[in-house]
């Protein structure tokens, strides 16, 4: 006869308490705000799903969401292949390995707001090194404070500079774990360099690549500090990504209800897309 032992629940309690304090409780306040209206004085009026409806229907939210998806798509399209290419061309052994690894890790060690300020000063027309060089030496009309296209390019290049290393380091870890015998067997089998990549390197990198794509998706989808410091969401609203817009609503306008509803929608989208990525990328293993 099987004995039911309910004692096990007690052992789960500490974790439950921890999760409650760092996730569930703060989250519940957001849920609380998202269904009510407040004018201060701790007075609340029941609003139901009104805020959600308003946010989802608003042009402002849809535009910010569109910009956010565009930004994240560009980041993934550029950083993942670039990261793989850089990882493939890094040396596998010898003196240059640690040098390359340190160089790769450096951008990631810089605090986010510092990255934003660095690129801001670097790219300012007239006084920034790059801004000056592009405008006055190459004669390219570039001004990220005035032109939306310039601002977008700058924000994307900054993120590529900051985060491609993550993809590189993860892919590199996957690559160095491939035993030499695989490359030797491929040589003997007469495989082309493309076949080696397609049938040996890519499959062996798959696990780390899944992690890299997920991390880059989540981080770029939730990005705030760097574009905020660099462009502040401008010129106009052209680089106002979701998180920047959210902070404007919550802290700028102090519309706590709509901001809370937007946070939850934001969170749901991040979760959903991450799940879709994960499911698609691990589909083969399940078979």
């Amino acid at each position: 006869m099987r004995t039911e032992n309910q004692k096990a629940w007690f052992f789960v309690l500490p974790v439950l308490a921890l999760v409650a304090f760092n996730a569930l409780v703060p989250m519940m306040t957001v849920v609380n705000y998202s269904v009510q209206e407040t004018f201060g004085n701790n007075q609340f009026f029941w609003e139901g799903l009104g805020w959600f409806e308003q946010i989802l229907r608003s042009d402002r939210f849809q535009a910010a969401l569109g910009r956010q998806f565009l930004f994240t798509a560009m980041i993934l399209i550029i950083e993942v292949p670039l990261g793989i290419i850089v990882a493939l061309s890094m040396p596998r052994k010898g003196f240059w390995v640690p040098v390359c690894l340190v160089l790769m890790a450096l951008p990631m060690l810089i605090p986010w707001n510092v990255v934003g300020s660095m690129w801001n000063i670097f790219t300012l027309p007239k006084i920034g090194l790059l801004g000056y060089f592009l405008n006055d030496v190459l004669g390219i009309n570039y001004d990220m404070t005035q032109q939306p296209l310039s601002a977008w390019i700058t924000v994307i290049v900054m993120d590529v500079w900051h985060w491609t290393s993550l993809v590189v380091l993860l892919c590199y870890a996957g690559l160095v774990s491939i035993p030499d015998a695989y490359y030797q067997a491929a040589k003997i089998d007469g495989a082309s360099p493309w076949s080696v990549f397609r049938y040996i390197q890519l499959p062996k990198m798959k696990t780390v690549l899944t992690i890299a794509v997920l991390l880059r998706f989540m981080d770029s989808f939730n990005i705030y500090t760097e574009p905020f410091v660099l462009t502040g969401g401008g010129p106009g609203n052209s680089t106002t990504l979701l998180s920047i817009d959210l902070v404007k609503i919550a802290l700028g306008q102090f519309d706590l209800g709509p901001a809370a509803a937007m946070s939850l929608i934001y969170f749901a989208i991040t979760l959903l897309v991450s799940w879709v990525f994960y499911t698609l990328m691990t589909k083969d293993d399940a078979q």
């Binding site: 015998a181 089998d189 049938y199």
Partner: protein
């Protein structure tokens, strides 16, 4: 299929080797007959894998030549040498099915699809993997993966040689003998020259027609399993092959006799040369017990199933004897008799007695 000749081969992993100790391979001269089954046997680090990689073209030797049927291939890359190699750990293209794995070397060489399909079916049948042809290769057990690795080598019907680099290392013991006999069977069917690297004497002796025993970058003896067992050319071979290995006992040589711990032992023939470290070599199988002979004190008797291994002390020297019956008690005094035609003197490791004309 080809005859493989290694001529004055030397290899060092250092850019500027100075003395012989810098060489992983020292002076190798071997000729392997077309269609033979050979084993390279030696302890880890003796240079056997280096030698294998030189033959397959994964490494270029520092000095010397490799000839396939008289043709110098030293400078050719692996894919142009037309060889196949099976590695210690099974190499499988994870994303492909078994069928695609087997077809891969042919596809890369632009063979037409009909021929590929025919060859893959043939090889799959030989290896008993026909029923798993359409499953993903990544899910197979290690022994099946290793079979597929072999299959990828054998699928080309023009291979000069198939090399095995300790292919049974990761295979479960009870499947080892199965795969080994499969290999032997394959060799008889495809008749390709096969070279098998291992540090396991059982694998080497059961697989090969001829075994090349290596030690510290040198070939110490090439011979059939019987030759290696019956007449080791070097104490290393005697010790490395056989279980337990040959007794190597310090002695003095006097014509066709050796003096060991004050007792005279008849040798197979007169020992030549003088000086150096002189040892008497005799296999435990040829040490018998009798009423007269060399007095010894039995220290231990191990029952290893088929026979008993008796450890004994003669003076201050330990030796082993193998016996099937008349097992002495540990602690008892016995008399040992050495079979003269199996007693040899080795000087500095190398055999120094001549076989007596029969």
């Amino acid at each position: 299929m080809a005859q493989i000749k290694l001529s004055n081969l030397r290899h060092s992993y250092m850019p500027t080797p100075k003395g012989p100790e810098d060489y992983a391979l020292k002076e190798i001269d071997v000729t392997w007959r077309d269609g033979g089954a050979y084993a390279l046997l030696g302890p880890s680090g003796c240079g056997k894998s280096t030698l294998l990689n030189i033959i397959s073209g994964l490494l270029t030797p520092s000095e010397g030549q490799i000839l396939f049927d008289g043709c110098d291939v030293t400078a050719l890359p692996p894919d142009q040498r037309n060889i196949a190699q099976v590695f210690q750990f099974p190499v499988i293209y994870d994303t492909m099915t078994v069928r695609e794995n087997l077809a891969f070397p042919l596809k890369n060489r632009g063979v037409d699809p009909a021929t590929i399909a025919r060859r893959v079916d043939e090889i799959a049948q030989m290896l008993d993997v026909t029923d798993m042809l359409d499953t993903r290769a990544s899910g197979l057990s290690p022994d099946n993966k290793q079979k597929i690795s072999m299959g990828r080598g054998l699928v080309r019907d023009d291979v000069n040689a198939v090399m095995f680099d300790e292919p049974l290392t990761v295979i479960d013991p009870h499947l080892k003998w199965k795969l080994r006999s499969k290999l032997k069977e394959l060799h008889q069917r495809v008749k390709a020259t096969m070279i098998y690297v291992t540090h396991d004497q059982t694998e080497a002796l059961t697989f090969a027609d001829e075994v090349v025993v290596m030690q510290e970058g040198e070939v110490v003896q090439i011979g059939t399993p019987v030759e290696l067992f019956e007449r080791p050319q070097h104490t290393f071979v005697g010790h490395f092959i056989g279980s337990p290995g040959m007794n190597v006992l310090p002695c003095e040589a006097k014509g066709d006799r050796a003096v060991f711990e004050g007792h005279e032992v008849m040798l197979e023939g007169p020992a030549h040369g003088d000086g150096g470290r002189t040892d008497l070599g005799i296999r435990p199988e040829y040490v018998g017990f009798g009423d007269t002979g060399i007095p010894a004190h039995v220290t231990k008797v191990s029952d290893i199933g088929r026979h008993y291994v008796v450890s004994a002390m003669v003076g201050n020297t330990a030796l082993k004897a193998v016996t099937e019956h008349s097992v002495p008690e540990p602690g008892s005094q016995v008399f040992l008799q050495f079979k003269p035609e199996q007693s040899r003197v080795y000087r500095d490791g190398w055999i120094a007695t001549e076989e007596r004309a029969q």
